[in-house]
Amino acid sequence: MPKFFNSKSKQLEGDIDGYLDRVTTAGLIFHEGVKAYVIGKKDKFERNFKEISVLESDADNIRRDIKHKLYTYMLIPESRGDVLGLLETLDDIVDICEKVLEQFSIETPDIPEFLESDFIELAELSSKTVEEVVKAARAFFREIGMVSNYVNKVHFYEHEADDVEEHLKRNAFNSKEIESFSQKVHMRYFAEKIAAVSDVAESVAERLSVYAIKRRI
């Protein structure tokens, strides 16, 4: 029996690491995708969008597999609920990254040049929150004392993202360059969508801080 549990434990360790790798990659592709769209590299953007769609369904499969194994083999009974909760909310991050690129692909917003840098910076900050929250999740599994360190970074980047979002929206609405009100609203909509990635990452970080307290010996 011990050998059986050990091999299952190792397998799950690998699955969890693989899942977290995919969440980080989703954040990076999201950043690259928004950047490619904004600077007009439409082909690259479409490639990124396809990549993230594949990644999203891949991550879903791994998550379901982890859930199945955790219940079937009765592993980590004490923290099973927390681990599954964590994986599900991390999945929301991948989902929203994919959704935002999808919206870009469908709605093809017309982004004026003076807003390009704001959009790219906003996407970069959101991607950083994803990177840090995944580090926090890894720490939850291996080095519980480090969780708060990464959670703090998530809060920091999320706050920065909020500032850039506000700046972008003000620029859009105060600008004489954008004439139609509908385009201004469109800019606001995409700014909010991109910033939403950092909001979801922050809510995962909040959960992680609680789980970390519960897991402390």
Binding site: F5, K10, L75, I76, P77, E78, F140, F141, R142, I217
Partner: protein, 349 residues
């Protein structure tokens, strides 16, 4: 033969209730938190309790024998019965109960009844051990907690692997705890029957020797195992999610500290080793596994900075040191009177 079984029945009943209650001290959290299946826990627990009882049970039993050598089977029956009833009654009243304290009280009751002088030195040794066992357990748990915490934090071990190692640890420590429980507490169950043991020494195939006392302990061990299988699951589920809510890792520390405490007060080998080195040896005395566990939990509370220290539990423990033996002694005295004068059985020589 029927008479012998009848007279041993009270001891076997005491053994059953010990198995039903005390197995939870060892495997309670492991089973309650579903880290180990009840069947696995019950099997390991039973095998090692019986091993501990047969191999190392003599030491602690000998101390009880010195306190009062109950020399008639009918007397031993009453002494064990009085202890069993006290345990049952105190469990129903929701008080932390110890078979060790109940049996000591009952033996003193027999001493009074048979006008045998109670060895004050033995009694002091026993009571002193009761006070010290939770303290030793608390100190050990405090130390182990810090060591475990440091190891887990420094090793950066993955949650999944930690879970695996904790399971293995709970099984190994559980086996050790069961062995210690059997060795330390079999005296409570069968100790009073030693002087009136109806068994003869047997040697199987010229290799395997089983003394009459070991046969008695084997029987008692089986009764404890029966208690483990038939009733301890209910108690384990309560322990796992009730009074002491522990995480599997802290449970491992608690069980290890309590098991070592029980082992220290039961191991003849350790006793001889320390004595041969001219070091102060631990007296071999049956102690309460429940109180050792409470001591360990207190030790962990202290290690965590004194949070959740349950003073009510502490006062209940000290009450148990006096109330349990007193109740058991009075009950034994009255029952011995009835056995002698109503049922016309000789209860002492």
């Amino acid at each position: 033969m029927l008479t012998i079984i009848f007279f041993l029945s009270s001891g076997l009943f005491l053994g059953w209730s010990l198995g039903a209650n005390d197995a939870a001290n060892i495997f309670g959290t492991a089973v309650g938190t579903k880290m180990i299946k009840f069947k696995t826990a019950a099997l390991i627990c039973s095998v090692f309790i019986i091993l501990g009882a047969v191999v190392s049970g003599a030491g602690a039993s000998h101390t009880l024998d010195k306190l009062g050598a109950v020399n008639e089977l009918a007397g031993a029956f009453i002494v064990a019965l009085a202890a069993a009833i006290t345990v049952l009654w105190m469990t129903k009243a929701g008080l932390p109960v110890s078979t060790s304290q109940a049996i000591v009280g009952a033996i003193i009751g027999w001493n009074f009844f048979s006008h045998t002088a109670t060895s004050i030195s033995s009694l002091t040794k026993i009571v002193g051990t009761w006070v010290f066992s939770p303290i030793i357990s608390a100190i050990l748990a405090y130390l182990f907690f810090h060591i475990t915490k440091r190891i887990v934090e420094r090793s950066k071990i993955h949650l999944m692997r930690l879970d695996f190692y904790t399971r293995i640890g709970l099984l190994i420590v559980g086996a050790f705890g069961s062995y210690s429980l059997g060795a330390n507490n079999i005296g409570n169950v069968m100790g009073v029957f030693i002087n009136s043991s109806p068994f003869q020494d047997i040697t199987l195939a010229g290799l395997f020797h089983l003394s009459s006392i070991q046969q008695l302990f084997l029987l008692g061990g089986i009764a404890i195992a029966f208690g483990v299988f038939t009733y301890s699951k209910k108690v384990m589920m309560t322990v796992g999610s009730g009074i002491f809510k522990l995480s599997p890792v802290t449970a491992l520390v608690v069980v290890l500290a309590s098991s070592i405490t029980l082992f220290l007060f039961a191991s003849q080998g350790l006793h001889n080793l320390l004595t041969s080195l001219h070091l102060p040896a631990f007296p071999l005395v049956p102690v309460s596994s429940s109180q050792a566990v409470v001591g360990s939990v207190m030790g962990i509370s202290l290690a965590k900075g004194g949070r959740n220290l349950n003073f009510k539990k502490l006062s209940q423990i000290s009450l148990g040191w006096v109330a349990t033996p007193a109740a058991s002694a009075i009950l034994a005295y009255i029952a011995l009177f009835f056995m002698q004068n109503v049922f016309m059985q000789s209860v002492f020589k």
